[in-house]
């Protein structure tokens, strides 16, 4: 197995029950006017979209409906919104680095950078698919812990008050 895929799968498996250190760091990243809520919402949304993207791409790369270079380029470009490939930090500088600079998910940024570089170097569809599946698993687990951190219920109640919506129904 590709070493970065191995590392991603192992981290993902560990995070099934272990809260990633990145989550603690993310909670210290303050956004506009010194609040953390928007950082969490943006990070959760970015990782949720990325899980779906990795899932769709690992399906696509196994089929012949997309040529190999297109799948690789799209995967690298998508991932560069989180972190640029480790061997090409300048090309994607404008939209990249969100994982580290916006969300303070530094371990995630490092792994995504190295995975992205591995995808660029890969020669076969199987090699690319392995890294994409490892990314899907890893990003899913980190996303889960951001989800758990966020007080959905409490904020939904407050949101309804602010917006004049009906109060959320109580638990059954």
């Amino acid at each position: 197995m590709n070493p970065i895929a191995q590392e991603l799968f192992e981290a993902g498996d560990r995070y099934l029950m272990e809260r990633p250190d990145d989550i603690v760091a993310m909670r210290t990243r303050m956004g506009t006017r010194g609040q953390n809520m928007t950082v969490q919402i943006y990070a959760f949304s970015a990782l949720s979209s990325s899980v779906d993207a990795m899932y769709l791409l690992q399906e696509a790369v196994a089929k012949d409906e997309y040529d190999f270079d297109t799948v690789v380029k799209f995967a690298v470009d998508w991932l560069s919104t989180l972190a640029p490939p480790a061997d090409d930090s300048q090309t994607h500088a404008i939209i990249g680095h969100r994982a580290s600079i916006h969300y303070r998910l530094d371990n995630l940024a490092d792994l995504v950078s190295r995975a992205s570089a591995a995808i660029k170097r890969a020669k076969t569809r199987d090699e690319v698919r392995e890294v994409l599946q490892a990314l899907e698993h890893y990003l899913n687990q980190v996303r889960t812990w951001i989800d758990l951190e966020f007080p959905w219920h409490e904020l939904a109640v407050r949101y309804a008050e602010i917006m004049g919506d009906p109060i959320p129904r109580p638990a059954p």
Binding site: H137, T144, A171, P172
Partner: protein, 135 residues
């Protein structure tokens, strides 16, 4: 007979529920799940779909099976991630999903009350296993 066993470690004690496995409709999916159980993950609640809990799983890639609309009690695999989804009460399904197990109708009342807690109190450890039980 083998059944899916869910154990949720709520603060006031463990809640255990068994679900019938649909070997007739999702044999390959269940075979894949049998390779990754037992596992545990903090259970969460869905935020768009009504009355649905979610659980991230170890990684496995499978094809769609029994891709259909869920009813209360159904448990499915959402392949992206992947994660398990379980519907515990009335639902307005937002799409089809790979249903592989179902909680029995006679267990739904308690299941509804217990799993409904995961919206207000997410994060309880859920352990998933497939175990032999008496028919």
């Amino acid at each position: 007979m083998k059944k899916l066993k869910l154990t949720v470690a709520f603060e006031d004690g463990d809640y255990v529920v068994f679900a019938k496995l649909h070997y007739d409709r999702a044999p390959n999916l269940i075979a894949a799940i049998e390779k990754v159980v037992p596992f545990s993950n903090p259970v969460r609640h869905a935020r768009i779909c009504e009355s649905e809990w979610m659980l991230s799983t170890p990684y496995f890639a499978v094809e769609d099976e029994n891709f259909s609309y869920p009813d209360p009690g159904d448990i499915s695999l959402h392949r992206a991630g992947p994660h398990f989804c379980g519907w515990y009460e009335r639902i307005s399904p937002i799409g089809t999903t790979d249903i592989f197990a179902s909680v029995a109708p006679e267990d739904l009342e308690e299941y509804r009350k217990k799993m409904g807690r995961t919206w207000e109190h997410p994060g309880a450890k859920m352990t998933v296993d497939i175990v032999e039980v008496e028919a």
